[in-house]
Symmetry: C2
Subunit: 306 residues, 2 copies
Amino acid sequence: MEAIRNFNQLTDHLKNLKKRKRIAVVCANDLNTEYAIARALDEGIAEFIMIGDSSILEKYSTLKIYPEFVKIIHIEDPDEAAREAVRIIREGGADILMKGIISTENLLHAILDKEKGLLPQGKVLTHLAVMEIPSYDKFLFFSDAAVIPRPTLQQRIEMIWYAIRTCHSFGIEQPKISLIHCTEKVSAKFPHSLDYVNIVELAEAGEFGDVIIDGPLDVRTSCEQASGDIKGIVSPINGQADVLIFPNIESGNTFYKSVSLFAKASMAGLLQGPVCPVVLPSRSDSGLSKYYSIAMACLTCNGGQI
Amino acid sequence: MEAIRNFNQLTDHLKNLKKRKRIAVVCANDLNTEYAIARALDEGIAEFIMIGDSSILEKYSTLKIYPEFVKIIHIEDPDEAAREAVRIIREGGADILMKGIISTENLLHAILDKEKGLLPQGKVLTHLAVMEIPSYDKFLFFSDAAVIPRPTLQQRIEMIWYAIRTCHSFGIEQPKISLIHCTEKVSAKFPHSLDYVNIVELAEAGEFGDVIIDGPLDVRTSCEQASGDIKGIVSPINGQADVLIFPNIESGNTFYKSVSLFAKASMAGLLQGPVCPVVLPSRSDSGLSKYYSIAMACLTCNGGQI
């Protein structure tokens, strides 16, 4: 499989599979979510189980768009709707979970339920996103812009594993993973830079399989060869990073918000850790971005059974 | 004075002043620094005192470019050259200090010397940068991408003061200052978000004069009105921030590196705190970026005497 380098290639790849993934959506009452669902139906990559209040029931029953691929379950209470969606996933009735306008906190509550939820015991819950940046010639994955404030070493190792598996789904055979800091110097003042030393050692010992991991490196040195050359930094990443692992949520979020705004990047993102991909968009994500997240979920899901 | 909104307007403004500022440069032996100096000489905004080894002496004596505006002091040892530059500033012989290829550490050593340095006792040393981003319609200032890892409340207040004074030099009468976080929620898990509450209260009490300060806000809500609208966030910043104050050095540095690389932004930056502007470029800064930093220094300096 050739690596998928942008969102058009991702849609094309999924269309060629000729198999719709089943997505359970909780409270899809907003315009951007509606656009994303309609687009996924049009592209033929997904079918939907819509769980929500009477406004959803009314809208989709009247519209009769793709009636064979849209099933509606009428549940008025959003928390109950969330629990029902999670139940459907657990029983193998859907492959992917998606949030509509229910609050993130309420949906997470159902996902994290120890007995009836979707996160296996001991699994790390984190967020992995991918950007198509017009000025970069391939996808750039990054973690974590949304969930873990300051990852521990063990959490970082899990974040890297999620990123590697996702890269493999995208056809990237040897992912180049850059551990981000503001300089290339390791310092006890910055505990994450000490973690990076451990992670690079693990990678060199073959712990992560066929990957290239290096750091600490800054964003520019990770993604532009000339920057490293000027500074005299020799790194196997060579300005060609596929994945950026950020030191903390503030820097990950700054990357996400500033590159999407100022560099006109398109974005997709998924929760990692649960038994199935969870599309958990930010309120300010565009309809297109929500569609791309659905596409990323369709590519990376593997059945959904717990 | 109308606000200066981009680097061309900054050069035009400085040229109209018809007054060259005096810049002491330590070890200007690299191509990008040479370009920046030649450009500043061409534009007529600065004259230079070049302090360095025999290679500088040879180059500038032979070239005889602007001989009336270039003075050369031959000192072979870089540390001694740094001390001499600092001495010249202290005695009023130059308005601005600039680093060539001497290491930042060695130049800082001379600047921070308690008896013979440039940082008055009790002053906070920090970094303030400004970007011209093609997709934003005015300058965007930000702090701190380079010096203070995790600012205290008092350090943040000083960072804001430096930004306000610099905005005034740029003709921005009522600077809009956004205190950056990954969400708009205040939480004890993120101590900087608690500091932000204090700072907003101080601003509302008039402590900072005629400014608008709000936060916590993320980068996108700070710089794009539509993002705040979708999220239902009402902020006096209104997506029109002039200044972003970052929670920590990792997020400030991520902003600087990723926006300059992916959004093709042009950048200038200065150390704040010393008695005169200090141009302390990163090794990977372009010649143009070093010239812009000189221009920013020429606009914001006020004499240089201690």
